[in-house]
Amino acid sequence: MSDLTASELDKVRAILKREPNETENGIFTVMWSEHCSYKSSRIHLKKLPTQSSRVLVGPGENAGIIDIGEGVDGKRWAIAFKIESHNHPSFIEPFQGAATGVGGILRDIFTMGARPIAVMDALRFGSLDDPSTGERNKRILEGVVSGISHYGNCFGVPTVGGECVFEPCYDGNPLVNVFALGVFRHDEIFFGRATGIGNPVIYVGAKTGRDGIHGASMASSEFTEDSMQKRPNVQVGDPFMEKLLLEACLEAMRTGAIVGIQDMGAAGLTCSTCEMGSRAATGVEIDLALVPQRETGMTPTEIMLSESQERMLIVAEKGREDEVFAVFKKWGLDAVTIGRVTDDGKLRVKNHGTVVAEIPNRELADEAPLYDRPHGVAPYRPAPVEAPASFVNRPASVKEGRKFDAELETLLGSGDLCSKKWIWQQYDYMVRTNTVSGPGGDAAIVRIKETDTSIAMSLDGNGRYCVLSPREGARLLVAECCRNLSTVGATPVAATNNLNFGNPERPEIMAQLVETIEGLVEACKFFETPITGGNVSLYNETLGEAIWPTPVLGIVGLMKTAAPVTIPFKNEARTVMILGGLGTCDDTRFGGTQYAKSVLRTLWGLPPALDMDYEKRVQAAIRKIVNEGHVESAHDVSGGGLAVTLAECSFDGIGAAIEIASGLAADVALFHEGPSRIVVSTAVPEIVERIARENNIEAVRIGVTMKERLRIDHNAVTCIDSPVDRFRGVFENALEGQLAPQHA
């Protein structure tokens, strides 16, 4: 557990004008932990764009809120969304760690009044085939997936997408980042504010136990050899309780008797009381003896720091408590007045009437120490810039072209690129019957039944690019997410980010964080996707080994509700085109590709080069093309390059005969990951070309769809020629195959 430093303790003394007692010390320790206070990242996060004409609520609340326009009822509708990590607990206890990660972010959404309608997960694990850690990594993967499945399915929210990547750097620090999105009307928005002096403070939901005490502090330090002893710090989730809490909270909100509400997440009762008071510039006085407890003999510190799940704090209008109680009684949940709002700005905690802690809310919640940690060094990178001689001097046949079917199969069967259906078939991705496009597409799409609008969502992260250049990687990440949305016809409107990094006290790690944030700032401004909230997870290190810098971005886009364009080719004899052109790549920019990772088994160089202006024009063009219905399929080129993209387009049985010509080496032309490219199939290529011209981008006719086979010729040399079924078989069975021996 990370205790307060000497200088932080001095600051506490200055605020209190005395020594803190044990309870106060515990309260400050969690509230000023990295996890709750963002003390190492806040000065840099302030650079992020957070506003646009659609942003109703930006960072600082439980979730960001975006206007999505008018509903069929004539009222204005909105969405709330956010991403959060549950990395540390998911390593220690994968099932409960991941499950409570889902529970926590869902509460962030419905505490604002929104009904959760979609969840997505970004997962990172160590390699499954590593001789020493592979078996453990499999167990973590299986535990995490079943935890997410258990919680989300029972709660009744569809898990509509996500991504999963394997790298040795996540061996000791798997990442579990959960994105959730909810929907409501503008007039249904609630805030976590303790307004109205004298109003009752009501505790609702599950009883408080000793679980999860100091979870926030645990998430604010590195793992060491004794980290497994932290298992009791992991909370236990009850999705059924959460479902009841959701329905009860939304119903109680409709009574009009609630003035403020906040979930008890990290730092539990401590965080919810002081933050609600701080936001409203009021004081909050509670008596712990009134808190429903499921264990006896809990100390005031334990009650204040417990991270028991499925609890909320409500401030109700004085005299209307019974309306709130009636709703919670209907749902069979505890609801107890434990205190009131005061005018002195202090968090006053009593136990059986005796004051055990008294701290000013604002100083506690908002004036945590800010650190400008040293970062004036080059970001840590474990790879050379120059391409290895073995690559530069590869055989002429590889450069000039030969059959690459085996390499393509290697890529399609690799952990990062293969089908994740073993994972997402364990998630109920259809409940609520809004899932217009579920897992496996470029973007997930859920319709909002009360409007004509659908929400497209893309969740992505690219540690491999970011470790080579955090700034360029971050820009590519924003571009990729926006491209995913544009490919299904949606206009990107806002983002939430989860920054997963190592120990910020190391300057070369802090430099990664700062460079990443500045890359996000630049690209989010350019693509007009303000960041409305998010999460920072630092100290993802085990025994001194940090994870790669892994920003995960969730971007949401808006589109008119309609049957979506999807990835597979639909008909034979259609023109296959690549919007944005074949792109270019030099030896240095090839070192971060999936081909370098899975075929060459090495890493070097820099991420693909991005021209943001060109990218934006490609996206504008594809949105117009898709929305006017000029293409039968669309799929953006990303990991594995053009060859993998074309294979994925062929999985429904319609392949293509492709002929491309370029000045690139054959392997580079097939597998480079240059951005700003989208493969489409169309019956009206002239129209696609016209729209491309209007947007001043390339649109190259590269072939024709045909039955059952995929053939790719580069500079008149046949490089790929196989039945599409073979590629699909490899793609679909790879993950299951890797996990299977364990069940045998």
Partner: protein, 238 residues
């Protein structure tokens, strides 16, 4: 026609079922809370999917004790149409309204995906609008959908033409590929696949509409008979 959708704490396909019969099929529906001992003025009852009471014990094992289930039993015994979908099927089995049991899936994992099911009999109010042998694409989403019954029960089900649906590609290890069955009176059916998720043009398939259309068809034929069978309702209408 008016559907009653039972809501247990933990039901989570209740809104979907309601949406399917109201918005997709243009009829009306009302929710019936689990502690209600009256169903109200409904022509058919839907027990929706979800995790009734959390399903931490056997799925549906707690739900069978709820007041609303006594009302459902009475309704069924008067010949009223009752359809249990997914968790609703589990509840019907636990309540004894349908025979057999639903065990954990063979792979011990939750499975969510569209599956193909075959209509095995059109001699039910839930399939009368189909053709025998017709295959439908309808999603499943469950962790405990592996149908099991003893030999005598299975023999009886087959002999009496009560296997309503079979999986074409069995996703959960169900005995004899059984996806849905009905009771002896043929007015109570349970199935693991979710027809309400396949009732809207924007979803994977619209094949599930057939189930509700069949119910509507048979209700419109049987309406007078049903009303006389239900004395309580006859009084209200009198």
């Amino acid at each position: 026609m008016r559907f009653g959708v039972v809501v247990f704490p933990g039901s989570n396909c209740d809104h979907d079922a309601c949406y399917a019969v109201t918005k997709n099929l243009g009829h009306s529906a009302e929710f019936i809370w689990h502690d209600s001992s009256l169903l109200g003025e409904v022509d058919a009852v839907i027990l929706p999917g979800g995790f009734s009471y959390g399903d931490y014990l056997r799925c549906g094992a707690i739900a069978k004790f709820s007041p609303v289930m006594q009302a459902v039993r009475d309704f069924a015994s008067r010949g009223g149409l009752v359809i249990g979908i997914c968790n609703g099927f589990q509840v019907l089995v636990e309540s004894g309204l349908l025979p057999g049991a639903l065990l954990r899936n063979r792979e011990l994992k939750f499975v969510c995906r569209p599956v193909k099911i075959r209509v095995e009999t059109v001699n039910t109010p839930f399939t009368c609008a189909a053709t025998a042998g017709q295959t439908l694409t309808v999603p499943v989403a469950h962790g405990e959908g592996c149908y099991f019954a003893d030999d005598a029960t299975l023999t009886a089900l087959k002999r009496d033409d009560r296997v309503v649906f079979r999986y074409v590609d069995n996703p959960n290890g169900s005995l004899d590929d059984i996806a849905g069955i009905c009771n002896e009176g043929r007015n109570v059916m349970g199935l693991m696949p979710h027809p309400e998720r396949a009732a809207d043009a924007l979803m994977t398939s619209t094949d599930g509409r057939m189930v509700f259309e069949s119910m509507l068809q048979s209700l419109s034929k049987q309406a007078p008979k049903l009303q006389s069978a239900s004395s309580g309702r006859a009084n209200v209408h009198a």
